[in-house]
């Protein structure tokens, strides 16, 4: 006898693990192309032999395009009032997933490595724009979906936590497997293989997205009824509303801080393990180890959020991160096993703090979208989410660039890679601690001082919105 699907009071499938797994699959799908972004610098400068400065300039250009692309696509989604079989947002995710089958590989076309700089530049920019467009078409509505799958804060916290799991798995798999597949025994990148791997990852991404689409239930009714008094969508007004949306701004500051610090620290961490600890093999294990706190925290996220509240929980986590990073900065860490152990301990506490925030971060954006509706009368999911996404991407791009500038100022010599002088290696050790501390402090500012939806206020907001929706339905 077939298992009967349990329904809630509104006739929707009851929220459960299926929703969590489906939502996690979405972020996994996104990361099947996003995870390759870190390989772009090596591919274009070492394999395609593009000059580093030219690459940096073109990267800045495409980041500017990102600034236009994200809110543009977000507003297109918001303006779109057509009816779709599975709903507007899932339809856009589907469209994005089809494009991402090949768009990720378009950033790694290997056949022009003997061409002129102009040709290479055109290939790079065209490939990146194509990838960025499809990624945004999939990612923006995907992020907005959180607020539509459930209005229950506990459910949203659960979805946010599982999104982090999907993101983590989507990052770990390439982090571990990619270096084995795309480098030769002498650590040189094999360009043709990157292209093929990107295509394969695109297929996996597409499969994940299909799983997500087929197992996602939209429970929040966002249908716009054509009323005379309904205001026309205005992109500039939506952007102004974003700036006035304290939860959105607070969550964005926290996310930006996290990415500038954490992404910026990535290169410095590698050099630190190479030149300071002289043990680069252990760095992968340490990074994996540092993800453990998130794994243990995720199943508890829902219960803790219900008990303490998202803002409260994430602020406590951030305080732990600040403390761990301060210790990392001031305590003498020696380049031996004792020093590695101190570093690992600090990283575990820092990761726990960061992890608490990252598991609830997406649901915080869901609440920020509700806040938009509460304060300004319109949800503008696409614009709110896309602006948040843009600032996150900006931080992800800015972080490594800023960190590299600081590394060079501290004596880092790019050509010598992991073979740096000890005095420089020592500077990297302090830079790593400094960057992590910066990330933690920005999170504290964003979540503790700007984000204003504590448990009490969130309850009030949800009550008032529910009453408003009930009134509109009558």
């Amino acid at each position: 006898m077939a298992k009967k699907t349990q329904l809630d009071a509104n006739g929707h499938r009851k929220f459960g693990m299926r929703d969590n797994l489906a939502y996690a699959a979405g972020d996994f799908g996104c990361n099947m192309s996003f995870a390759l972004k870190g390989t772009m610098l090596i591919f274009w400068t070492q394999y395609m032999k593009m000059d580093s400065l030219v690459y940096a300039g073109l990267l800045l250009l495409v980041q500017v395009w990102d600034a236009i692309n994200d809110p543009l696509i977000g507003s297109i989604i918001d303006i779109d009032k057509r009816k779709y079989k599975r709903g507007k947002f899932l339809a856009y995710v589907w469209l994005g997933s089809v494009g991402l089958l090949v768009a990720g590989a378009m950033c790694f076309i290997p056949w022009f490595n003997e061409s002129t700089t102009v040709v290479k530049g055109i290939v790079f920019v065209a490939g990146y724009i194509l990838w960025d467009a499809f990624y945004t078409i999939a990612n923006v509505p995907y992020g907005s979906l959180l607020s539509l799958i459930s209005s229950d804060p506990a459910d949203r916290a659960s979805l946010s936590a599982w999104r982090s799991v999907g993101s983590m798995v989507g990052n770990i798999v390439p982090m571990v497997l990619l270096p084995m597949l795309i480098y030769d025994p002498n650590d040189n990148i094999i360009g043709e293989r990157v292209f093929i791997v990107a295509l394969i990852m695109g297929i996996f991404g597409f499969i994940s997205f299909q799983f997500m689409i087929r197992n996602t239930e939209i429970r929040v009714d966002y249908d716009v009824k054509c009323k005379e008094e309904t205001a026309k969508f205005n992109i500039f007004k939506a952007m102004v509303n974003f700036i006035k949306n304290r939860p959105a701004v607070g969550a964005t500051i926290a996310a930006m801080g996290m990415f500038v610090g954490m992404q910026g620290a990535t290169a410095a961490v590698t050099v630190m393990f190479q030149s300071f600890f002289k043990n680069v093999q252990i760095s992968g294990i340490v990074q994996l180890f540092a993800m453990l706190p998130i794994v243990f925290f995720t199943p508890l996220a829902r219960k803790l959020v219900v008990k303490f509240g998202k803002k409260e929980l994430s602020v406590v986590g951030t305080i732990f991160s600040v403390a761990a990073c301060l210790i990392m900065l001031v305590v003498r860490i020696t380049p031996d096993m004792k020093g590695i152990l101190i570093y690992v301990l600090c990283q575990l506490i820092n990761s726990l703090g960061m992890g608490i925030y990252s598991t609830v971060s997406w649901s915080m954006m869901g609440d920020a979208i509700d806040y938009n509706e509460w304060k300004h009368g319109s949800r503008e999911e696409g614009t709110v989410y896309s602006l948040h996404s843009f600032f996150r991407k900006l931080a992800q791009g800015l972080g490594p660039s800023l960190a590299l500038v600081i590394m060079v100022a501290l004596g880092y010599s790019e050509v010598n890679g992991g073979n740096q002088l000890f005095t420089v290696a020592l500077n990297m050790r302090y830079l790593v601690a400094g960057l992590y501390l910066f990330a933690a402090l920005m999170q504290l500012v964003g979540l503790g001082l700007v984000y204003n939806l504590d448990k009490k206020k969130l309850e009030k907001m949800n009550e008032e919105l529910a009453a408003r929706h009930a009134q509109e339905a009558e």
Partner: protein, 363 residues
């Protein structure tokens, strides 16, 4: 929340105080002969690291290979509040004179990378030396070769022309201890892998077919070598040993001109074994995408050649262990511990000398 933050900050402050206790800068002085020498530059880097581990902050002085300058530095140092003088002598320096000056001021002396006689060391009870154990060189060279061939895949490739001999060429000389040591390693490997008699025979065939070549003219020597040993004669060189890495670089250049040691898949590889690790090998690096100032900064030495598979391996001075030994001795002197505390027993030679063995590096 404010109380919580305050408690955390106090805890962090207390922890930071706990990590103090450094040995002061003025207590330790290091006098270098020079640091333009690639080996000494690496030695300095290793000492920076070792001193950091031991929490020793030291003053550095550079003599630029000038005996007068060195003397001036030492007089300067001894006039200040110095507890330990660590010195790498400029060639031609009278070590006894320095020891006498230090003795008069009750300053301990540690020599490194200096040829100091036993008499000089014994003339002062606080005089020590951290040296390289030259006797260990042959053994390390042998172990390097033995370990390289302790691999079934490599074993199959050793005898390129299947004549039952390992035909090798030597630039300079190689003593019998090298092959004794190599064969010990290989015998142990053979026993462990239960190799058959045919493969066992190959392992002890090093002595056969050797050629001794002139290091002064590597290009001509290699050219003559290939005239005699080539595929047409069904007789090919299967291994080359050099006494220094500068020669090894010239050998690799000559091999590459003949189509060897440049294939990334290593199908045309003649293993080259050498001694030393710091020769500038930038000519072998791909600097085509680098700017001029980057090329100047770029470090590419014999060690990088080994990492890239162009040289099989080298026996080199273990500067890391030397540096750790120097810093341990300095720390023990300052803290009033027995001088040889935390020094490996096998490296202690008498009461005043630490001898660090050569190490092998194969990538």
């Amino acid at each position: 929340m404010k109380k919580f933050v305050a408690i955390l900050l106090v805890a962090v402050m207390l922890l930071s105080f706990a990590s103090c206790g450094a040995i002061n800068k003025s207590q330790v002085a290091v006098v270098w002969s020079n640091t333009s020498d690639a080996y000494l530059a690496s030695m300095k880097n290793a000492i920076d690291r070792a001193f950091y581990i031991e929490n020793i902050k030291a003053d550095y002085y550079y003599s630029e290979d000038d005996v007068q300058k060195q003397s001036a530095h030492i007089i300067d140092i001894l006039a200040k509040d110095c507890a330990v003088l660590i010195i790498n002598l400029v060639e031609g320096t009278d070590a006894q004179e320095i020891v006498n000056l230090a003795k008069a001021k009750d300053v301990a002396v540690i020599f490194f990378e200096s040829n100091v006689s036993e008499d000089v060391l014994n003339s002062y009870d606080k005089c020590y030396s951290v040296e390289i154990n030259e006797d260990s060189l042959s053994e390390q060279r042998g172990k390097l070769i033995g370990n390289y061939y302790s691999d079934k895949k490599v074993l199959k490739q050793i005898d390129r022309n299947n004549d039952g001999k390992i035909t090798y060429a030597v630039f300079g000389s190689v003593d019998a201890k090298v092959f004794e040591s190599a064969n010990l390693v290989l015998s142990a490997y053979a026993e462990k892998e239960e190799l058959d008699e045919k493969d066992m025979k190959k392992l002890v065939a090093f002595e056969a077919g050797k050629e001794t070549l002139d290091s002064e003219n590597v290009e001509k020597s290699m050219s003559d070598l290939f005239k005699k040993y080539n595929d047409e004669n069904k007789n090919t060189v299967e291994m080359i040993i050099t006494e220094d890495d500068a020669t090894a670089l010239s050998v690799v250049k000559a091999l590459q001109d003949k189509g060897f040691n440049s294939d990334k898949l290593k199908t045309h590889l003649i293993p080259v074994f050498t001694v030393g690790a710091y020769e500038d090998a930038k000519a072998f690096a791909d600097t085509s995408t680098m700017k001029e100032e980057e090329i100047e900064e770029y470090i590419y030495t014999t060690i990088n050649m080994i990492d890239d598979g162009l040289i099989a391996g080298t026996a080199m001075k273990d500067y890391d262990s030397q540096a750790l030994a120097i810093s341990a001795v300095a720390r023990n002197i300052i803290n009033g511990n027995a001088v040889m505390t935390d020094i490996a027993e096998e490296n202690i030679s008498g009461e005043k000398v630490v001898k660090i063995p050569y190490m092998s590096y194969a990538g």
